[in-house]
Amino acid sequence: MKEFRVLWIALLVMALASPIGLYLPRLVKAGGAWGEWGLDEIRQMIGYAPAGMKKTADIWKAPVPEYALPGQEGAPLSRLSLSYILSAFIGIGACGGGGYLLARWLTGRRGKSRA
């Protein structure tokens, strides 16, 4: 693990800097990503909510929707930033953990040789 210390530190720095990705779009008054509108936005854009979309759009309720802790819709940007950083750490933990388990499962059967 020591070999990768610099890379892990880089990830920590990225997590702490992540709110840049929250502030920058607001700074220049940009909207969301194309094709990632909610049902209400779609309704405003084309005048109706597509029937099939209405049925599947909310098929899953994410525990941390849009990288904000639940109940923080419309919270001040500073609080959202904290949520964002927390999400970044959750992401590091979940992706790192998932990647670790997968790597161990895939490489584990070849014995205990270590480089």
Binding site: E3, V6, G21, P25, W34, Y48, P50, G52, G91, I92
Partner: protein, 229 residues
């Protein structure tokens, strides 16, 4: 570029899952054969890295936002099949925990972002670095590879959006799923990726390769060489 739930009709998202299933199986086998114990932690680091890269939203002033992915950089480090697994992990976590990208669309998003991006970008990189084998040349090739990979993924994402009205339009002319045709979706998505998000992807890819070349971790860049497919 993460397709949410409700934008793709079942034929599209089921076909995408069906296309991904054998690719995931091949990826697992390839990685099992080629990933060394020394490289194994990179699979985890890469997944976390791409997750974080995607949090940095880049705005087109007054327009839409996008982001880089880091998929080609990861492909250069652990090979395109390893990149497919790392990016799949990030996309699955994004969908289930953060609602970024749909559950039904995981196959589609993985096909675009976890498969097409690392493969097209990696091949662009290895093709170009044959002509520019110096360190600087390879860093440049990596940057161009990043641009190519992200834009390929953006194009196929746009096509998936764009074909929905062809398959799913009610008799009264209303769309059932994503409402915009190819002629709208492709320019809307590609514009930002060609001129801005892809350029950021290129810079991130090229600069990190440039840094790694001179660091003690330079071996990371050579480990995937020669075992691409």
């Amino acid at each position: 570029m993460h397709i949410p739930d409700g934008y793709l009709g079942p034929p599209t998202y089921l076909a995408a899952y069906a296309a991904c299933a054998p690719l995931w199986a091949i990826a697992a086998r390839r990685v099992r054969q080629t990933l060394s114990a020394r490289q194994a932690p990179l699979l985890a680091i890469a997944a976390a890295f791409s997750f974080l890269v995607m949090m940095f939203n880049i705005p087109l002033p007054g327009g839409t936002t996008g982001h880089a992915v880091g998929g080609v950089l990861i492909a250069i480090a652990i090979g395109p099949w390893g990149a497919m697994l790392s990016l799949t992990i990030a996309l699955v976590i994004q969908a289930f925990v953060f609602g970024d990208g749909g559950i039904t669309a995981i196959g589609a998003n993985c096909l675009n972002i976890a498969f097409l991006m690392p493969f097209t970008g990696y091949y662009a990189y290895s093709f170009l670095s044959r002509f520019f084998p110096s360190d600087k040349g390879k860093a440049l090739a990596a940057g161009i590879g990043g641009w190519v990979g992200l834009n390929c993924a953006a194009l196929t994402t746009a096509l998936m959006f764009g074909i929905q009205p062809l398959f799913h339009t009610a008799p009264d002319g209303r769309a059932l799923y994503s409402p915009y045709p190819i002629s709208v979706a492709v320019p809307a998505i590609l514009l930002g990726h060609v001129f801005l998000f892809g350029v950021v992807e290129a810079l991130v890819t090229g600069l990190v390769v440039h840094y790694l070349q001179r660091s003690r971790s330079a071996w990371i860049l050579h480990s995937a060489a020669g075992e691409a497919v």
